[in-house]
């Protein structure tokens, strides 16, 4: 195999991996991305005397196919999610964002904590009619328990008949508060901030 063929094989392998990594993107968009990245690689390497070196360089600057695909879906999802009220979409987007940096990780932890708390409240409301004496807001020497008390003998219930409305309001407030905080974080994000530039990756290699 000549070095020309080897280089061509490397380009094809890169694009194949990118195609698999873009599995979550609609097929039309995926074809468009692949065509554009292929054109970019060919253009960058086009007239270079050292074609192999030029392809090496451009593949490095593109990042691994998985990283590149991750950036595509995160860029688009963050925009879509920052306008959405769907906890599921927000949580999924934060998961992708978390892989790119600190701020995304914080957003994901907030999403996980906030929505789990809201879900816990909601479950306890549904269980209340079945276990009216057990489910409640219990207070005791070790603090507060919402749901089934850990030490019923030392604890007493605070809310009584108000349990359902109060906890429903708390679930609603927690879910809405988490959603608004996440949307705010996503809108506040500087475009491209989680993504290294050549300059920075150059520095990282030097140090």
């Amino acid at each position: 195999m000549t070095s020309q063929q080897l280089t061509d094989t490397r380009i094809e392998m890169y694009l194949n991996r990118l195609q698999s990594a873009l599995a979550g993107v609609s097929s039309g968009d995926r074809e468009d991305i692949l065509r554009e990245i292929r054109a970019h690689i060919l253009d960058s390497a086009g007239n270079s005397p050292d074609r192999e070196g030029a392809v090496d360089r451009v593949l490095r600057l593109l990042g691994t196919p998985e990283e590149l695909a991750g950036r595509y879906s995160t860029e688009c999802q963050l925009t879509r999610a920052s306008r959405s009220f769907s906890p599921w979409l927000l949580l999924r987007t934060c998961w992708g964002w978390a892989k790119l940096g600190m701020k995304g990780t914080l957003a994901f932890l907030l999403a996980l904590f906030g929505y789990t708390l809201a879900l816990g409240f909601t479950i306890s409301i549904f269980l209340k009619p079945f276990m009216p004496d057990k489910i409640g807001m219990w207070i005791g020497p070790e603090g507060l328990d919402i749901g089934v008390p850990s030490h019923p003998e030392q604890m007493h219930e605070l809310l009584g008949h108000y349990f359902v409305p109060v906890i429903a309001a708390a679930a609603f407030a927690t879910a809405i508060g988490t959603t608004h905080a996440l949307r705010w974080m996503m809108r506040k994000r500087t475009p491209g901030l989680a993504i290294p530039t050549t300059r920075e990756s150059g520095l990282a290699q030097a140090s």
Binding site: H40, I195, L203
Partner: protein, 123 residues
Amino acid sequence: MAINGNGDRGQHWEAQLRKGCLEMAILASLWQSRLYGLEILRALSEKSELEVAEGTLYPILSRLKAEGLLESEWVEAEAGHPRKYYWLTSPGRRRAREMAGAWNEFAEKLTALVQPVVGGRER
């Protein structure tokens, strides 16, 4: 690793600053003509010394298009493969003008503030 903590932080700050301007710079590069990805990268690097990795640029272009600020079209080229050209839509032109206006105002005020520092005058 970092020999000088301040120098390292200075470079970090500069990198953040550049990244914050990226969206405006991309929109501004398309103000006068339609360009394809590689031309945008070259315009950014020649006119503003903004070195952007291709892996950063293309996902941002795709988002700006999804937001309706850019439009694109495939054009057959002599190179043997088509190229995807981008241009600003009217909301894109409006956004670019707003960003450039805000940038100018900000830069003017800050230039006045840092003037004595750059001039090296002591109080």
